[in-house]
Amino acid sequence: MQNKRAIFGAKGLPYLLLAPQLIITAIFFLWPAGQAIWQSFLREDAFGIKTTFVALENYRYLFHDPSYLNSLKVTVVFALSTAALSMGAALILALAVDRMLRSARLYSTLLIWPYAVAPAIAGVLWWFMFNPTIGILPYLLEAVGYKWNHALDRGNAMTLVVIASAWKQISYNFLFFVAGLQAIPGSLREAAAIDGAGPVRRFWTITLPLLSPTTFFLLVVTIVYTMFDTFGVIDAITEGGPAQSTNILVYKVYQDGFVGLNLGSSAAQSVVLMGIVILLTVIQFRFVERRVNY
């Protein structure tokens, strides 16, 4: 092994080769992140004419602000519901496709389509279908006696953004579940079948545990997706309403910073979000990757 190692004479060469990536990271991540952290310690008028250093005042205010605490709660509910719905549906579809022989490819292709839809477009599609005035579904629901109005009803609004966000993510989860299922050796399931285990028991005791690496990977990816990529869905469907009931963290950053022009608070919120992503990533690498039963 030792003598196969390439020896580079110049000490600088590795750094030179790494440079493009390092420069990109520095310009597009470290610099803006640093600016956000600095901005989060300041209180400033919109035009940046009067600036005061207020240390942790923005953070202190944030965690005493009922609307921010509400946003945290909303985000947790939204992320978990979306993850449960999109992964559950994806798993059922993947199991169905896994049993098919000839038509599996066709179904897989069709199921991947929604992934290509931009979140804002997905939002508008569902907004049209569920629009209380012009949508088709409230019209049908009214026939069975249910009055759908996501402009006023908090539960309706949350349900709608969860459905729209989950629908888009099902494709992605489905692909990984299909790949995960195909990686499970058929012999294991056959052996269990010979031992007399029924399909349900085989699923719970063999398939699901062997799928756990995929499941945990998808859980982290989906939660990251719900927290950051669903901006378009929220903006197109509810704009965080009614009464803040779908105002997730990332949307609140936008509302406070770009609409309200409260840059200090908005920066503090971005820093908190950055902390959450770092935490999720650490969990994935440190905890999940080790504990999961391969």
Partner: protein, 439 residues
């Protein structure tokens, strides 16, 4: 191919030479669609009318996007000379001394003839400082009015030529309309915040804040929880339950207009500038126009309504030639011909008395009944401290709070008094933050 190329090359050379002689200024605006086309037309005729200056209009998206991009540009020292800012951004712009160049000052410094008295007091009152100086140039101002479906009125046995005057009328008419099956709902409205709170208060001569609705200083507080407002919101919640009123959504209320167009709701309150849209969409029925309803038992009602829309602000950091261009362009914009044309096309108010008189001379109001309701309503009485407008910082978010509390009220979570108390409490917190950041 070669010919088009040489022609465009020629045009390029021509424009380059022209650019050297001309002073070019940027105007960022938020007028999309047909209004945007009309705006570009106005600018093109200005550019053709003289050769010293050239105005370049750029569409920057919604009102808040336009304001945000201008502010971001200012921070990066790339700001346009002129930017269009909506009325709720006024508090933020006024507080930004050092960033804005007050219009009255610019007109004086550049020696451009300028008479503030030529403008309608109800329009400029919103944009003057406490000393009566005009800080920005009114461009598109509107006020909410009532639109109603004449066909539905007739079907319900009402007089199609009589608009409801009071809220009692609105309720009685709506009940009659619903009972007769002429329509499913009495009325809907755009802009809960602007129409059913701010204008409602001005129209009933009720304050919405201390210090003359914020005109008197940054330390003003909101007081929207007066008895008249509480009673009105209580009624709106009651009417929403019994179907007289249907909610059109937060902000501008995107779902309100379709309800009116589809003849679901017989009456509709929204900006006078919605007129073009209403006329284009109300193909199957005749539209009537009326002033906003009022409660007959409130003293001082009806007073006068207040405006919405946007004005043009001049930003600091350009050289004096560019300000000369801006001043010259503003004179052109406020000339009676340009204003009357813009007003008649869009439904926005004419900002000068001369433009209104010109419209009368042209016979426009006789040919288009209802088109002068807005101007009559806004000039009904001389504005009082309660009806000249409002000036609060962070007001974009406060409007959001008004929507949220209204939604909570309609959902039955809180009663009208609590909802309006909450608007005050949450709004005042934002006002104190704004005061701290701008002091």
């Amino acid at each position: 191919m070669i010919r088009t190329f040489s022609v465009s090359a020629l045009a390029l050379v021509a424009s380059l030479t022209a650019a050297q002689a001309q002073t070019e200024i940027q105007w960022w605006h938020a007028m999309g669609g047909e209004l945007g086309q009309k705006l570009e037309e106005i600018v093109a005729s200005y550019n053709a009318s003289q050769s010293d200056y050239k105005v370049v209009p750029t569409y920057k998206g919604s009102y808040s996007e336009t304001m945000t991009s201008a502010i971001a540009a200012f921070r990066a020292k790339e700001q346009p000379t002129i930017v269009q800012v909506f009325e709720v951004g006024t508090g933020t712009m006024m507080a930004a001394e050092g960033a804005v160049y007050p219009v009255y000052q610019m007109m004086k410094d550049t020696g451009q003839a300028f008479d503030p008295k030529a403008f309608l007091p109800a329009v400029v009152g919103y944009y003057t400082d406490t000393n009566g100086n005009m800080l920005s140039m009114p461009f598109n101002s509107s006020t909410p009015i009532l639109y109603y479906n004449k066909d539905v009125f007739e079907k319900a046995g009402l007089d199609p030529n009589t608009a409801p005057k009071t809220w009692e009328d609105v309720e009685a008419f709506s009940t009659k309309i619903m009972d007769s099956g002429a329509a499913n709902c009495g009325f809907t409205t755009g802009w809960i915040s602007w129409v059913q709170l701010e204008n409602f208060s001005a129209w009933h001569n009720q304050p919405i804040g201390t210090k003359e609705n914020g005109f008197g200083g940054l330390d003003a507080e909101l007081t929207v929880n007066g008895p008249a407002q509480v009673k009105h919101w209580e009624n709106l919640a009651k009417w929403q339950k019994n179907g007289v009123f249907q909610y059109g959504g937060p902000g501008g209320g995107d779902d309100a207009a379709p309800k009116f167009y589809a003849q679901e709701c017989a009456m509709y309150m929204n900006s006078s500038a919605s007129r073009a849209g209403v006329m284009a969409n109300a193909k199957e029925f005749d539209v009537g126009f009326g002033m906003l309803p009022y409660y007959a038992d409130v003293d001082g009602a009806p007073q006068n309504s207040i405006i919405g829309g946007a004005t043009l602000w001049v930003l600091q950091g350009h050289d004096s030639d560019e300000y000369k261009a801006a001043a010259n362009f503003f004179s052109y914009l406020s000339s009676a011909e340009v204003q009357a044309d813009w007003h008649q096309f869009s439904g926005y108010l004419p900002i000068t008395s001369a433009a209104y008189e010109l419209g009368k001379e042209q016979g426009y109001y006789e040919a288009n009944p209802g088109s002068d309701v807005a101007i009559k309503q806004i000039t009904l009485n001389a504005p009082t401290a309660n009806s000249k407008g409002l000036r609060f910082g962070n007001y974009v978010q406060i409007r959001g709070i008004i929507d949220e509390e209204f939604q909570a009220l309609l959902a039955g979570d809180v009663d009208a008094k609590t909802a309006l108390d909450q608007v005050d409490a949450r709004g005042n917190e934002l006002l104190r933050q704004f005061e701290a950041a701008n002091d």
